[in-house]
């Protein structure tokens, strides 16, 4: 029950998806499986939310260092849940104005929209914008031309960095002969992307594809059972 049934579920579900590519009669089963997958994904999000609450409540109750921030997390989480699920500030759909709950939850001016536009957007986008600074320190402190390979990487990066801006054109304006225009950094960048980059990425893509096939086969044949965990 604890291991055999889940193993059978994984193998059957996987083979249904696989076989549906070759036998049209199995297509309906695979469509059903994919619908259920979409619904279960919401379950995974509910689980994630539940875990979040559990972990942070444990931190608060044991008064670990920084427990105040856990309280902030939980407060924000429940605020968004309440505002969103109760559709605060949401007007009904113009097609069905007599149905109070028919509106679009992210309608401009609604409570959830306000939270999204004034909390989620600035917080998440600024978090990622910080990466520009870290990339700069990495360039200063870590990128060293220690050997041929590192030098190749840095020279390519330099050509691409300049080639993907107006500098790639401007640096060679007025003095580079027509026959040597291929040396212009923007043209070189195009060539680098189309030939060496495509070749290297293609090799990596094929390698990953072989790895995915091997891993999927191991799961479908019941060889890899790591997802079942320990008893």
């Amino acid at each position: 029950m604890k291991r055999t049934v889940p193993l059978a579920i994984a193998i059957v579900a996987g083979f249904v998806l696989l076989v549906a590519n070759f036998i049209p009669y199995a297509e309906d089963w695979s469509l059903t499986a994919q619908e259920w997958f979409n619904i279960l994904a919401v379950g995974a999000m509910l689980l994630g939310g539940g875990n979040l609450i559990k972990l942070h409540l444990m931190k608060i109750s044991s008064k670990k260092a920084g427990w105040g921030y856990s309280a902030v997390t939980i407060l924000c989480f429940f605020l968004v849940i309440v505002v969103g699920l109760l559709q605060m500030g949401v007007h009904p759909s113009p097609n069905y104005p007599d149905f109070a709950w028919s509106g679009y939850v992210l309608e401009e001016g609604s409570g959830l929209w306000w939270i999204y536009a004034h909390m989620v957007v600035p917080l998440t986008s600024t978090m990622f914008a910080m990466l520009a600074f870290y990339v700069a320190t990495a360039a200063f402190r870590a990128f060293r031309a220690k050997n041929t390979e590192a030098t190749l990487l840095l020279v390519t990066a330099g050509i691409v960095l300049l080639g993907r801006t107006y500098a790639g054109v401007w640096l060679f304006e007025g003095w580079l002969p027509e026959s040597m225009q291929w040396l212009r950094f923007d043209n070189l960048t195009v060539w680098i992307m189309e030939i060496p980059n495509t070749a290297g990425t293609r090799a990596i893509t094929i390698g990953i594809a072989l790895g995915v096939v091997a891993t999927s086969l191991r799961i479908l044949l019941g060889i890899d059972r790591s997802y079942l965990g320990q008893d």
Binding site: G50, V105, V135, L153
Partner: protein, 326 residues
Amino acid sequence: MSDTDKPNKSNSLIWGILFVIGGLMLVWSMSTSRTGQVWVTPEHHAFSDTGEVNDNNDAVWKSIDPTAATTTDITWTTYEVVPVSELIPAMIDSGDATLSWSRTIGLWLSAIFTLFILSFLVGDNPAYKFAEAMVVGTSAGYVLVISIWDVFIPNLLGKLFPAMVQGWSLPGMDASAPAELLYIIPALLIVMLLWQLMPSGGWISRWPIAFFIGVTAGYRMIGYVEADLVAQIKAGMVPLWVTGDTGEFDFWLSFNACLLTIATLSAMVYFFFSIEHKGLVGKVAKVGIWFLMITFGASFGYTVMGRIALLAQRLEFLFGDWLHLI
């Protein structure tokens, strides 16, 4: 501990300088423009019952002129933002444009949160930690709410209880559709998945997890074989003797084709770890590494471009939308 985490006197000096410069910019901006203000114009909506009914036996309503609305009609007001560049005193005096307190407070909070996150660059501090805690809580809550309204209700509850869902939040559904009882299975699987949160019986969640794993393995195998294996091998087989439009041998196109083939094959040889990289294999693998380094260099260049665009957008928000400096 990084050098910016260590408490030192320079931190206080940096904070002092930042507050002074920031304060001066704010005062100058507020005195010369409507800094941080959001003005809106109201848009009134009104709907009247036509007396007809649709296929679900629900009343059909139509949009009417809001000035002609009566007490039996349904009305509400939405608000459109007036760009500051289009805001003129006449609009304010006539009442066409009003200051929206909720959006103004929201704009200031957005700017403050942005600065809280950026403050990490000076050093770790409570403001950043507070903002970080908010990111986690609000993002998780938002994703859950959207998933419930967009997926859980129409795709699960709508299949199991169509009449109830149609009468409550999705009036566009077909109320007479029969309940699809097969959807009890995903509902049960969700309950089993949530069992992981219980103190015991965690093994129950293996069933839905196994379903996830099996379905993913099944369709990914086909997707990767078709698009990333077969199609890529086919795309890699290019003619090495290339003729141009005139039908004559084109040196540079042929050179590129040969180089593409050599680079792909040598990079693939590098990834053959079951063969020792010695002799000819070692030399070919070395060439492969060189091409891979060029690949990674190009990736780095593009990555930098991406990160800087994100920073530029945030600064455009601070300088433009908030401070009206641009």
